[in-house]
Amino acid sequence: MPTRSVGENSMTVTTSEVFEIRSGDDVVRARQQVRVRAIESGFSLVDQTKIITAASELARNTLEYGGGGTMLIECVDDGRRRGVRLTFEDQGPGIPDIERALSDGYTSGGGLGLGLGGAKRLSNEFSITSNPGQGTRVTIVRWK
């Protein structure tokens, strides 16, 4: 699987925890945990709202399309600024055409098709790896 992580260069991870995403309640808990970490990292209200919303979209994707998976929350520091990095991983069917999945209005489910592209717009850094049959990994970073 081709991999590429965002913001790996000289980034310090200060805290790191993994959450299971197996149900709708887990999506709510994931949002709440992202909120706690964003506040801890000194995010403004607008930045908090953006990363929580992005997390909600991606957690729902993990559940709906990936059949469940995990969210890794990391508080990061690149020496100049603090940020929150979220990595969503599932072992679901994968996304055959990532470019298309990122375009607004495209959905294979019943949604609006804004989830992936919307989460990308709400983040400072975004990367996605997906291989059909092996699952999907999405990483976002939002800086303070």
């Binding site: 709708g24 709202t49 607004d104 949604g111 609006l112």
Partner: protein
């Protein structure tokens, strides 16, 4: 399962969302509201989202659906109290809720709905009769 309460205020229904909604709760609210509009012949639906910390695409779609269904059932939906940070995020997400009427707060939202109820009464001649007396 939890339900979000729907209050009846004259010809209007009032919903205050005070919890971080999971998707099932949002779907239940949509169904409950639709049933209540039909049962009470409500002319307006006021949804207060001032307690919501985020509105993602799922909640956005729910608000859009409620507005569309209530319109078909001859009621007007007004969403009030959206936090500024939520509004900024929603637009950046790609949702501007074109089908949903909004107002800054409950008071202004109720005023919008009252105007609609009065206009309906006039068109049915009820208010004219009253003034004739």
């Amino acid at each position: 399962m939890d339900r979000i309460p729907i209050l009846k205020l004259g010809s209007a229904l009032l919903v205050t969302i005070q919890v971080d909604m999971h998707d099932r709760l949002a779907i239940a609210l949509e169904e409950d509201l639709t049933a209540k509009i039909a049962a009470t012949a409500a002319k307006g639906v006021l949804i207060d989202i001032s307690a919501l910390e985020i509105v993602d695409s799922f909640i956005g779609r729910m608000l859009d659906n409620i507005a569309a269904v209530s319109r078909v059932l001859d009621a007007e939906t007004v969403v009030v109290g959206m936090r500024p940070a939520v509004a900024i995020t929603l637009v950046e997400l790609g949702l501007s809720l074109p089908g949903v009427k909004t107002a800054l707060n409950v008071e202004r939202g109720m005023a919008l709905i009252s105007r609609r109820i009065d206009a309906d009464a006039v068109s049915r001649g009820e208010l004219d009769d009253r003034y004739d007396e």
